[in-house]
């Protein structure tokens, strides 16, 4: 019989793990949610954008480490990797919007969904062709230190993942609430047909939204690479679907909702695995999600579609 104290440490340990996992889901699902909010389409390539972002991060980290590891402190290399990767990955997002979705703006939504899946496959095979099937390993960007706080094990990597993810989301929230581009995004999620009448070009706001989603996903990829250093071209598939689920659960276009749902998903997954055999984890976790959606079909913060689809 475990003592209450032990149970509590066990709980805290899982809480930390859940926060880490939730951080990935939250940041990635925001990219899904924003695109859906602004353009009313699910970018099914988003998981693979995350994957490509991780590879870009891998490339940049490797280059920077090779060039500067002996002269610059580790944290500058880390920040350099994040900034450069974010910048480059944003262009992947822009590319996906311009080449993949823009020509389909007035096509039925199903065409866009199929295109998204197709883009994902192109990215997967593209990486496979360029880098081969061998699994690459993400270089550590900081020396891992483990702290033992009253029996709860905490690594500096975990803490960093949780904090950086939070900072990213706070920065995004600021951008959405305080800048004119963020305002335009909010307006688009309410009534995208009326937005051009304000002199706002949809051809600026749409790629910007994709760029932000891809940029965020790529940072998440770098962090992911610190926690799980193995890269593989299909790594984006499962995590992409999970982020999609979190976006749905959060409610159409709601950034707050997507973040919250991302964390919730992390919690459910981790805690289900502490009670049930891990092979049943996803089955049980997603049954819970299904149950929630049955009672809240619009998710946590889903707006009603206010857009009349003609002007």
């Amino acid at each position: 019989m475990e003592s209450l104290g032990e149970l509590f440490t066990y709980f805290l340990q899982n809480l930390i793990n859940a926060l880490q996992r939730g951080s990935f889901y939250a940041v990635i699902s925001i990219g899904y949610s924003m695109v859906y909010g602004v353009l009313m389409l699910f970018n099914f390539a988003h998981g693979d954008i995350f994957m490509v972002g991780t590879y870009i991060g891998f490339g940049i980290a490797t280059l920077l480490l090779a060039a500067f590891a002996s002269i610059l402190p580790g944290w500058t290399i880390f920040i350099g990797t994040v900034v450069i990767t974010m910048f480059l990955a944003s262009w992947i997002g822009v590319f996906v919007e311009v080449a993949g979705y823009r020509p389909l703006r007035s096509a039925p939504r199903a065409s866009a969904a199929i295109t998204g899946l197709m883009i994902g496959i192109i990215f997967e095979t593209g990486i496979l062709i360029m880098l081969g099937a061998k699994r690459l390993s993400f270089p550590p960007l900081m020396e891992s230190v483990t702290y033992n706080i009253g029996g709860v094990f905490l690594t500096n990597v975990k803490v960093m993942i949780i904090i950086i993810s939070l900072l990213l989301m706070i920065a995004l929230q600021f951008f959405i609430q305080k800048t004119k581009w963020g305002m335009a995004m909010r307006a688009m999620s309410y009534d995208f047909l009326a937005v051009p009448l304000m002199g706002v070009s949809i051809n600026i706001i749409a790629p910007l939204t994709f760029a932000i989603g891809a940029g965020l996903a790529s940072v998440s990829g770098i962090l992911y690479g610190q926690a799980y250093p193995i890269l593989d071209p299909y790594m984006g598939v499962i995590i992409g679907w999970k982020a999609f689920v979190a976006a749905i659960l959060g409610g159409r276009g709601s950034i707050k909702g997507a973040a919250l749902a991302g964390y919730l998903l992390g919690f459910i997954e981790i805690f289900v695995a502490t009670i049930f055999p891990s092979t049943l984890r996803d089955l049980i976790a997603y049954s819970i999600i299904l149950l929630i959606l049955t009672y809240r079909p619009r998710g946590f913060f889903g707006m009603e579609h206010s857009t009349k689809l003609r002007l």
């Binding site: 335009a184 307006a187 051009p196 009448l197 304000m198 002199g199 206010s306 002007l311």
Partner: protein, 237 residues
């Protein structure tokens, strides 16, 4: 002539909504197009603001420039054509002030923006009282004021108005038209589309009557008010 529309044809799928509409508006004028439901009033405005494509052969010119070369957002930002759409279409999830500032998205004249904002708030005192309120919580009349104020902020040369009287109580309606007069006095041309023909013809200098996608009558607004056919069909007398 500021706005020239010639042989404008618009179709929605297989349905032809406009069959070669031609008219013109001079700078500073107030012109109205009246017509029954489904006659093609809104479609005419949407074609000018490039929200719907027009058929080849249609001519749309503004100050001698080919409107068809511009996309919808550039029509606002570069040509100064603003459009108050049917049903207001304000952004309910943004505050009143945000709605008004979003309309300045492409503008760079920061000083003038501040002056214009003040001007709009002076014109519609109710908006100023509610400036930090979400636009979705405004009453219908206030939303209409916001839609007009927003259009004023977005482009200054001509304002296309789609039934600004819709859903307003008679007194508010008169206030609204007084406000439009004030906007016109700043030098903004007004092209007004209305079902409320009497009101529109009293307000405008010239008018056109549209039926089934074709202009059937035109003239001085006061003459149209006295026209027996207009009286019979649109003034209920």
């Amino acid at each position: 002539m500021q706005l020239k529309v010639e042989n404008l044809e618009v179709s929605y799928g297989n349905i032809k909504a406009l069959h070669g509409v031609s008219f013109s508006v001079d700078a500073g004028e107030i012109v109205t197009i009246i017509g029954a439901n489904g006659a093609g009033k809104s479609t005419t405005l949407r074609a000018i603001s490039r929200m719907v494509p027009s058929a080849p052969g249609s001519v749309l010119e503004f100050n001698g420039q080919d409107i068809l070369k511009y996309s919808a957002d550039k029509v606002v930002a570069k040509l100064g054509i603003s459009h108050v759409p049917e049903g207001r279409r304000i952004f309910g999830n943004l505050t009143v002030t945000e709605n008004l500032t979003l309309a300045c998205f492409a503008r760079k004249d920061t000083d003038q923006i501040a002056k214009d904002l003040k001007w709009v708030f002076d014109l519609f005192g109710r908006l100023e009282e509610r400036k930090d309120q979400l636009a979705g919580t405004l009453s219908g009349g206030e939303q209409q004021m916001l839609a007009v104020g927003r259009a004023f902020m977005s482009g200054r040369k001509i304002m296309l108005l789609d039934e600004p009287s819709m859903g307003l109580a008679p007194l508010l309606m008169l206030d609204m038209f007084d406000a439009l007069k004030e906007i016109n006095k700043t030098g903004t041309t007004i092209l007004l589309v209305e079902q409320n023909a009497r009101l529109a013809l009293k307000f405008a200098q010239r008018g056109y009557v549209i039926e089934n996608g074709t202009l059937v009558l035109e003239g001085k607004a006061s003459d149209l008010l006295d026209d027996p056919e207009v009286k019979k069909a649109y003034l209920g007398a």
